[in-house]
Symmetry: D2
Subunit: 344 residues, 4 copies
Amino acid sequence: MYSFKNDYSEGAHPRILNALIESNLEQEEGYGEDSYSLKAIDLLKQKLGRTDVAIHLIPGGTQTNLIAISAFLRPHEAAIAAKTGHINTHETGAIEATGHKVVVAESDEGGKLTPEAVQAVLDAHPDEHMVKPKLVYISDTTEIGSIYTKGELEQLSEFCHAHNLILYMDGARLGSALCSEGNDLELSDLPELVDAFYIGGTKNGALLGEALVICRDALKEDFRYYIKQKGALLAKGRILGIQFLELFGDNLFFDLAAHANKMADRLREGLSEANFGFLADSPSNQIFPILPDILISSLQNNYSFHVWEKVDSDHSAIRLVTSWATKEEAISAFLEDIKELAKC
Amino acid sequence: MYSFKNDYSEGAHPRILNALIESNLEQEEGYGEDSYSLKAIDLLKQKLGRTDVAIHLIPGGTQTNLIAISAFLRPHEAAIAAKTGHINTHETGAIEATGHKVVVAESDEGGKLTPEAVQAVLDAHPDEHMVKPKLVYISDTTEIGSIYTKGELEQLSEFCHAHNLILYMDGARLGSALCSEGNDLELSDLPELVDAFYIGGTKNGALLGEALVICRDALKEDFRYYIKQKGALLAKGRILGIQFLELFGDNLFFDLAAHANKMADRLREGLSEANFGFLADSPSNQIFPILPDILISSLQNNYSFHVWEKVDSDHSAIRLVTSWATKEEAISAFLEDIKELAKC
Amino acid sequence: MYSFKNDYSEGAHPRILNALIESNLEQEEGYGEDSYSLKAIDLLKQKLGRTDVAIHLIPGGTQTNLIAISAFLRPHEAAIAAKTGHINTHETGAIEATGHKVVVAESDEGGKLTPEAVQAVLDAHPDEHMVKPKLVYISDTTEIGSIYTKGELEQLSEFCHAHNLILYMDGARLGSALCSEGNDLELSDLPELVDAFYIGGTKNGALLGEALVICRDALKEDFRYYIKQKGALLAKGRILGIQFLELFGDNLFFDLAAHANKMADRLREGLSEANFGFLADSPSNQIFPILPDILISSLQNNYSFHVWEKVDSDHSAIRLVTSWATKEEAISAFLEDIKELAKC
Amino acid sequence: MYSFKNDYSEGAHPRILNALIESNLEQEEGYGEDSYSLKAIDLLKQKLGRTDVAIHLIPGGTQTNLIAISAFLRPHEAAIAAKTGHINTHETGAIEATGHKVVVAESDEGGKLTPEAVQAVLDAHPDEHMVKPKLVYISDTTEIGSIYTKGELEQLSEFCHAHNLILYMDGARLGSALCSEGNDLELSDLPELVDAFYIGGTKNGALLGEALVICRDALKEDFRYYIKQKGALLAKGRILGIQFLELFGDNLFFDLAAHANKMADRLREGLSEANFGFLADSPSNQIFPILPDILISSLQNNYSFHVWEKVDSDHSAIRLVTSWATKEEAISAFLEDIKELAKC
């Protein structure tokens, strides 16, 4: 049984575990004030080419989203997201639990937001009888594996600045996005383009941990209070610092993402060769091939994955996710199996 | 420089790191449904002698408190805590941020609550113009290192049941409490006595992780929704399961706590022999000796610790915390240094 | 200038003001425990034919919705509403501000929910990574003037009971609904069919005030705490009791609604005779005729009303609302004016 | 039976009801945009001698407090109040329900806060592990009938500005405060001294209604959103405007308060002459005489009032509240009765 269910099925990249072991018995300050976290933050600023951003290491993605969004918004303000946006559907109302509505904007088929879609939301919220849409939530890669081009992000960024909106990017899979074919964004472009974003560790080789980068001055104040209040200031914050230091000390973060993407590429190519179509164009580590239901059933004997949605009466799209840990042999075996099974 | 500042200065006990390494490349389900978490939960139930409790592994202590308390209470209900209670003063209003008031009850000098103190709170809240006090929050050990005897806990438990109150115990330092001199409670006594409690991992040798035990049926329903909504359902929940499995697979959890206590005992004895008094009677891994301010200054050259409070014009109490990782040599050195410095 | 903008343009029915004057100098208990409120509640129970419901008088509609829904739901539970539902779009995120998501269900063109639409929402929320839909919010009349038949409500009611959902009806315009042509519901049917609902006073002749009726026992407990916590327990609660006593002491409540509907009927007939069509079939006190934009502009010189939505390049639907206070002469004048203007 | 229980036992001053009747059938805009509310706000600005304040009319006091405080604070910030402060004890956790802790400061025996008391709170909240105290809540009169002198308020104001704190005054009984013997504040002094305050209508002759005055620019933005979100934007907002217009059109507001105070003065004098002492020095419309319990029992046959607290084994303090509606004859009768009863 091999799992393509997600990119967090394994533990951490071995170098990360080693780093934890090497530093294990050193005494460090608690609550993110340890020397590793401080160094990791400095290193990230260096990689971003910006010393004026604020960076906080936070255990998980939903947590990062809810802390950032609730810290950035005043009580009557709302977040705008695609229907497929993670905060809209897959975080158990975490944003609403902090008091804020998530307003759905029409997205293109790839789950991406455009200035036009955001404008339509603004138009529909003219006065104080409705919430005030204030923050635009996007993710790169999106929930369905698509990526933003630099041009698309620039347009959205200009629009948001012109309309006094906060542009926030969920980067749970930012590594994969930045290493995708067709991507023309660099990590260091982001502070210019968005007001805040996070660099996902959990889905790219860390045990846990996301690095929230706050680029706009007005959003930085007192931020550690919010982290603490939501229970996200780990006593042993060092374990986040050590991991990010390892991931960004050399090119490990990008190497891991590139591996995941390469494994997805091989799956995509193999499935295309076998004449299977795809639900959407996703150049990243998630692909959505459309398969006969009967074939899906057979595959489930040896592989685990999500059945994403019905496509027609006897076909469905499945989601295959690769990661830093995906083995080439597993890819080969899967492709062989599917070709074999498809014959039947 | 040696730190007695807290019990989370080091990483994790080496056996825990080993366990993470050994399981690292196995594929597991996400979000706490992995085989390690399931096994750890079974093991904990076994240790508690109860199969009918619900157990959830949660990354941190503040998080566990805020999730449990906000899940247990309806909007108009309040928690009762000692003034020194962690939720009252040291969690940045985490409970209030979920909508609930923390009502302060008078505690004895050790920071413990009694039925009389809780009764006084109830008396002061007779009708709907005030919140309805509903949950009694205690911790063992308390913030100032004292412990509840079985008799004390039984009295509080009876009182709470008689008054339809929820009794909740914060066990961030439960290991140390259960291994303290004078303790007559066993882990397996707790499900009978409290409605919910947590077993602290972070301060007793884990990298992170607390095990919340819900004993009362009415409090169990849909609990995973609350964990997810507050951002505490780790994608790689396995890292919590693996750690608790290691801590409770044999006697490691208690061995680590016993070591911490033994180190505190040695400090306590040494300081007593040197004729220093203590702010409070704390049989656990936190002690509060009263020292001349001038001596405190000198000690700070080689040791880090919290200065707890002024006692008189030229004396203060300091807090010394020991842990699973505290070295015997450090204790000896500290005691020698203090005796030497006290001579001057 | 005459306004058809809404049904709260005037003050209160004169009998209500008289009742306030007559009782004015009597000393009464505060916070809704006055003799008038108690009598009004008894009277409403009598009209409902049920002594086992709990009734609370609350100043406004948004307030009633937010108090009831936040009291009924646990933190992870969500309300289901039509896209046009008042809580979804026109209450500034009041429900989300109490921590709960409003999930949109597909409604029919009249803005009404069906079991199928609710089932689709349930299907899309299978587990703890999403909110748990728990309360179905409907309104009668709906935001666009349509009404539920008894059969429709019975179906929805059965579905909700079968799926352990709470069915809640916003009755801001319940008077008009119950007096509409085609209505086959009676006020006394509601406690059987819904778990809670409110009888709107503000839009049917009162200065302010809504009567919330809680029919399901499990939802009644401690309800006055919620009213107080949200700031809705008026010191002089008598002013709500006096008004409902006057409205229901004889048939005044229904007489006022019937008048509003009759005025709308006359508008509807007159406009039909003049060959204007309607956006939707609304048998109540709100109608949505489709007019040429140029005619709308002319009408705006003498009448105020909402322009509801563009229909085509040179037509729009407007909303005309009648009330207990609408004058027959105003209706006649409007119809004459429109016929005159339409000639041009 | 005559009630001295509170200052909201009767309806409204007859002139207010007349004003409601006279304007009753005029068509007005909804939601506080009616001409009466706009005029009332202009009038209040004139009385305050300031055109640059923002004024909002809100139905009730708890509502005003919770809307203002939750709008002014960011999520990690807390309000500071006296233990006796209304928001701390008598609003069912309304402030906490919006997510903010109420931190108790030591007050003097009259329930008033001083710069020293606020400083002590700041000292106890040094970092992000605790809430950030940000808003100082005071009331004039206080819960126990005392008043702030201009000098006291100036000191507190300077302190708050120096420490970047928001100074907020609950003026539920501001009329009585400003007309008390010993008062040297004028209504027009307040915008200089506090950042926001409200002028209480409900307890000074209105049916309902409080006028919130926001003096600091940074606190004004988007305020109507907050009112709407909390359900406090009345559809018929005119009823608030009409009342404040009547109260401040001439000197009615102050005349009513002066009457209430005069009635309390007569009670105070009569009780002093009869040699009864008082719990506290309260120059306003609430007095707290200390009486033998046996006498209290006898009085309760003919008068209703709150028994405030036990003073010794056979004496208690009671609270007597007078209002705009208190009758001179009732005062005379009460004083005669008490003298008569005291003889027995």
